[in-house]
Symmetry: none
Subunit: 156 residues, 2 copies
């Protein structure tokens, strides 16, 4: 169960639909989430997407703050306010919303990039740049000693 792996880029049709890559659909089906959970990434021009596994990860972050506290409210608004759950049609497609368009800069093509427990939705060219950068960082993180982020929930 490798989760979301590899990346694919698909065309956006005249109606604003894209096919979700079949391997990703298979992961979603196994996860059991009805539809797709999408949320704008706070640190890059991509949209995070996934099923229950992603959702529970976000929930965990929220749980670190006491309900009714201003912090919890702020975070909840930030997280859920920036999210949506597009339906997946019978052919495995979703509609790309204006929110996704604006946040990612997507026009006519969409890159889906697997990150294991979730995947990201990118404008293809932006994704290429981001990945080149990420690979440099990854090399430094794996060989050098970048301080690993602590495991419990902390603000972004």
């Amino acid at each position: 169960m490798a989760g979301f792996v590899s990346h694919f880029t698909n065309r956006l049709d005249a109606k604003g639909r894209v096919s979700i890559p079949a391997p990703f659909r298979a992961v979603l089906a196994r996860d059991g989430f009805e539809g797709l959970y999408c949320i704008a990434s706070p640190h890059c021009a991509a949209v995070d997407a996934g099923g229950n596994e992603l959702l529970s990860e976000i929930q965990t972050r929220l749980d670190a703050f006491a309900k009714l506290s201003p912090d919890h409210d702020a975070l909840a608004v930030a997280l859920f306010g920036a999210s949506e759950t597009p339906k997946i049609d019978g052919d495995g497609r979703i509609m790309i919303s204006d929110m996704v368009r604006e946040h990612t800069g997507i026009t006519d093509q969409v890159t889906f990039a697997g990150l294991g427990y979730k995947f990201q939705i990118w404008e293809p060219e932006k994704f290429r740049e981001h990945r080149a950068e990420a690979q440099k960082r990854a090399l430094a993180m794996l060989s050098g000693q970048v301080a690993p982020t602590p495991l419990p929930g902390e603000p972004a």
Copy 2:
């Protein structure tokens, strides 16, 4: 558990398929991974391949960072974005993707080299050069006293 040992060179057919060496398939079957996990090596023009053992190696690296953090995202993109999980057909073959072609320079033949817990996919000529180089390094490391780091390079 012998793991992946020795090396083999097989032909790529007109449809872009190669047979995975039978001994490697036996190891994969024992490992229990459905399909094959592949990731471009950051160090050389080869693709690392394996099953659960390789995957958990990568997962462990990721687990050092908190999910949803920029660090985790970057690492996950670099690792999973450069990965794929080709299916193994009923005859023990996989399709060589464009990603593998580009990273390795493979055209019509493929060399599979066992490294124990994983194996590598090479363009045959590049593999010969790499092995010669690795053997030189191995010799230096054995005669001098360099910190132990497993190296490829075993006789056929």
